[in-house]
């Protein structure tokens, strides 16, 4: 089992909690990998729109294989169940190790307490995928999972 590279650390003090890239450097530690991870973090922050990014590990089920042969067609599903009184307005997906961090954004026209979406994505190499759930009340939750990719999507 590979270690999770991205961790969501909610700062206990201060007005703005932060999403922090934690732990280990990306595989190989190349400049490009670092740049892509930085771009992903910026994209995640932008999607959160300044809201505190809360740890969504208990609220979001991210179904993603831990190991795939082919990065061109990676199945992904995200199920969100928000606390009572909150409704899912949108789900965003991000890739830490692709040329562009954004994967997709889904919006729900009739938000409810739960939402589920499934798709297939491209991953250029082994990396971390982040899912961010946006509640109608402006709260933002996120979780992440790591995928090992044998053959990356064509580049």
């Amino acid at each position: 089992m590979i270690l999770q590279r991205r961790r969501f650390l909610i700062r206990a003090a201060g007005a703005a909690a932060a999403l922090v890239l934690g732990g280990l450097p990306a595989a190989g530690g190349s400049g490009r990998a670092r740049a892509e991870a930085d771009a992903a973090e910026a994209a995640i922050r932008a999607a959160a729109g300044g809201a505190e990014i809360r740890d969504g590990a208990e609220l979001i089920a991210l179904e993603l294989p831990t190991y795939v042969e082919d990065g061109n067609q990676v199945p992904l599903a995200a199920s969100v169940q928000l606390p009572e009184g909150e409704r899912v307005a949108a789900i965003h997906l991000f890739a830490d190790g692709n040329p562009n961090p954004e994967i997709a954004r889904f919006r729900f026209g009739r938000p409810g307490p739960r939402a589920r979406v499934a798709t297939r994505i491209r991953l250029h190499r082994s990396q971390v995928v982040t899912v961010l759930a946006e509640a109608e009340n402006g709260r933002v939750y996120a979780t992440a999972a790591e995928v090992e990719v044998v053959m990356g999507a064509c580049s």
């Binding site: 067609q73 997709a104 939402a115 499934a118 064509c154």
Partner: protein, 110 residues
């Protein structure tokens, strides 16, 4: 080859009031990322992606997707809908060359 681009959808035949149903929508579209090289010519294959998908029930938006190159070819989307009432589901895909593809289905709530 736009003639080979076509939508496929799956909607349950019927649903009970309040039932959560899964809707599947796929477009057979190359969704070329613009990062790929044609092995025959060595040139980059131009970006050609589906940018936006919407599903409406009797005109009211129920689901909307904004897609980036990291979505796989033949973009496939499955999403849930709470069947409060029946009606006509309209599906629409728009790609980055302005092409629009549509499909429709009837959701029966009994």
């Amino acid at each position: 080859m736009s003639e080979s681009i076509r939508p496929r959808i799956r909607v349950p035949d019927q649903a009970a009031p309040g039932e959560v149903v899964e809707i599947l929508a796929m477009l057979t579209h190359p969704h070329d990322s613009g990062h790929r090289t044609d092995p025959a010519t060595g040139t980059t294959i131009a970006r050609h992606i589906v940018e936006r998908f919407t599903c409406r029930l009797d005109g009211a938006l129920v689901f909307e997707a904004t897609l980036h190159p990291a979505v796989a070819a033949n973009p496939y989307l499955a999403f849930e809908l709470t069947a409060e009432r029946g009606g006509r589901l309209d599906f629409e895909w728009i790609d980055d060359r302005g092409a629009v593809f549509t499909a429709e289905a009837e959701l029966r709530v009994i």
